[in-house]
């Protein structure tokens, strides 16, 4: 117990300022989200008869207040993603880089039983702080999102997919791993921070592409009511009479049955239909499952990157 306490105290002291500043920023953002969530829930409770998405005249004043609060909420949720990456990088990059840059690595690595054990001790504390801070952001973004869309169940909807909830923790852990690895390779904090930010941008783009391909293999044809639960749109186009699916190219007119026509004359005569419109989606009810899966994959990649940092640390020169 005493060893754990000493480990936590020492680890905190080494990154005290960063942890305090990041905690202040996360608490400020969380406080804002909580306050806004209360405002929105209060408005929804006070005007149960109003549909704020399309307010009747008697609801217009409340609707305007609700709408402007939702606008602020969207801005806050969008700002959470850079904050998530910032938390992860500022905790991860200096773990090895600072010791190497300041010339204290030699001493630290000599005192401990092994460099890898030293790194595990350092990474574990920073990761714990990171998960706590990102976990708070994940909970608050989910609460705010639910308050912003009272008419849907946001735990079963892809609304603000990727910008809220546990995926923030997954993305943060990926960035944390990249930060630790690049810090270990470069051994200089500021250049490592810049390069890590660039690498995280690349990794995020790569993960979007990979997950997008994965989603395509699981997509189903949308039913008429699926749009109510904010599904994840995958693709859409024309389904030819042969069953082949193609893009919208050449389709200019659509009738009430969803049939598409190349020109106005065909449309008016209802002849030579090109085919029917189709939409491939992942239904909103699969939101939790998809988010859990992607969070696990991103966290796993982050752990692999930390493994890479352990290899680099065990082999690199201390200065």
């Amino acid at each position: 117990m005493r060893t754990m306490s000493a480990w936590a105290r020492l680890s905190f002291r080494l990154q005290r300022l960063e942890i305090l500043l990041l905690t202040a920023a996360v608490l400020l953002a969380s406080g804002l989200m909580l306050w806004l969530g209360f405002q929105l829930n209060g408005l929804s409770a006070a005007y149960p008869e109003c549909d704020f998405a399309d307010p009747a005249r008697s609801c217009r004043a409340a609707g305007e207040t609700f709408g402007s609060a939702v606008g602020i909420g969207e801005l806050i949720i969008m700002s959470t993603s850079p904050l998530t990456i910032g938390v992860a990088l500022f905790l991860g990059v200096p773990l090895v880089a600072r010791e190497a840059e300041q010339g204290t690595a030699q001493l630290a690595w000599t005192i401990g039983p092994s460099r890898v054990r030293w790194l595990i001790g350092r990474v574990a504390f920073a990761a714990l702080v990171g998960v706590l801070l990102l976990g708070l952001l994940a909970v608050m973004t989910d609460l705010l999102a639910a308050a912003m869309r009272p008419e849907i169940n946001t735990s079963q909807a892809f609304w603000f997919y990727g910008g809220r909830g546990p995926l923030l923790i997954g993305r943060g852990m990926l960035a944390f791993g990249a930060g630790v690895l690049i810090g270990a390779v470069l051994g200089k904090q500021l250049p490592a921070l810049l390069l890590a930010a660039l690498a995280v941008g690349g990794l995020t783009l790569a993960s979007e592409i990979a997950f997008g391909s994965w989603h395509e293999t699981e997509a189903v044809v949308a039913s008429p009511t699926d749009h109510l639960s904010e599904p994840l749109g995958i693709s859409s186009g024309i389904e030819l009479p042969s069953g082949e699916r193609v893009g919208y190219g050449g389709a200019e007119f659509q009738d009430d049955n969803g049939d598409l026509y190349a020109n106005e004359a065909d449309f008016l005569a209802r002849r030579n239909s090109l085919g029917r419109e189709y939409q491939l989606i992942i239904p909103g009810r699969r939101y939790s499952e998809i988010v859990a899966r992607e969070t696990a994959v991103l966290t796993g990649v982050g752990v692999l990157l930390i493994g890479g940092a352990a290899v680099v640390t065990s082999r690199r020169r201390p200065v």
Partner: protein, 315 residues
């Protein structure tokens, strides 16, 4: 020249990365703007005015339209780089200037060898401040053509690329806050984080303050008034044609006896909106630039005072 060489040596990695970043953004801004201008010049009959062709054959113009529209959509992505640049330069270049000397315990010797702290400060901060200024001016100028092309040559709020005065003021403020954070904290990495947070808070507060100021100066004008796109519109209301009194829609619907279902505007009233016309954007842009420049001057003064009074040896 010696000061420039020293600045380069001390922050080589950071300077090289940031110069590469700024150069890439400038090339993208100029390239996209130039290409858009070229497409317009090669098919002038297709681009009668900012919004479409001047009675020309739509089919013949389709290729030009598609190429132009693709660039019009890519342009704002390149412009994000110009918006981020002042922030990045200030956060990365400012804090290490004094912070690294204190952290590495070389401040005492550097300040003594230079004869005075002022001289040292001028030699160290001068080249970096000059670089930031040049980068901001180049970015501001590089975005001019693109901004004109994307916005169709009309002035207005929410410009695609930050105008030159705003870019320079933001760069100056970010650098001054970065320098101040480095001096106060005395450790580079935490100072970078503190500077980043402080810049976000100060710039957001300025933006909210300007918006609140604009709201107080917005004027009610009939809704039919040409207020397309780039004007700042705040609220909708009604003006009594007889008395000239103006009330907001919310106030109107709270009036006893008002028929919720009746068409707007009711007889004897005109629908109005509180607006700041797009043509007034330059005035507000200069006001915001002035506010940011004043804050930058205050932060720079605090930095100088903090450096003069700081103990060189204790982070």
């Amino acid at each position: 020249m010696r000061a420039v060489r020293l600045a380069w040596r001390l922050q080589r990695w950071e300077l090289a990365s940031l110069i590469a970043f700024v150069a890439a953004v400038v090339v993208a801004l100029v390239g996209i703007g130039w290409r858009m201008e070229q497409i317009q010049a090669s098919a002038p009959e297709c681009f009668g005015d900012a919004h479409g062709p001047a009675g020309s054959d739509q089919g013949a113009c389709e290729a030009s339209f598609m190429a132009y529209s693709a660039l019009q959509q890519i342009g704002p992505y390149a412009a994000v780089g110009a918006t981020l640049a002042p922030f990045l330069l200030g956060v990365i270049l400012g804090p290490p200037l004094v912070g690294r000397e204190i952290e590495g315990r070389t401040a005492a010797i550097a300040w003594t060898l230079s004869g005075s702290r002022w001289r040292w400060l001028a030699l160290r901060a001068g080249p970096v401040a000059l670089l930031v200024l040049v980068a901001m001016v180049v970015l501001g100028l590089a975005g001019t053509t693109l901004a004109e092309q994307v916005a169709g040559g009309e002035p207005g709020f929410d410009p695609v690329v930050p105008p030159l005065p705003l870019e320079v003021a933001r760069g100056g403020l970010a650098l001054a806050i970065g320098l101040l954070a480095g001096t106060l904290i005395g450790r580079t990495f935490p100072a970078v984080l503190a500077a980043a947070l402080a810049i976000v808070v100060v710039m957001s507060a300025t933006s909210i303050g300007i918006d609140a100021w604009m709201k107080t100066e917005a004027r009610p004008v009939p809704q039919a008034f040409g207020m397309a796109g780039a004007s700042k519109i705040y609220e909708t209301g009604l003006r009594d044609d007889g008395t000239g009194d103006v009330i907001t829609l919310a106030q109107y619907y709270r009036t006893p006896g008002v028929d919720d279902a009746a068409e707007l505007p009711p007889p004897g009233m005109t629908l109005v909106v509180w607006v700041i016309p797009a043509a007034e954007y330059p005035t507000w842009m200069w006001r915001e630039a002035g506010m940011l420049a004043s804050l930058a001057a205050a932060a720079a003064a605090m930095f100088v005072v903090a450096t003069a009074g700081r103990s060189p040896g204790s982070p």
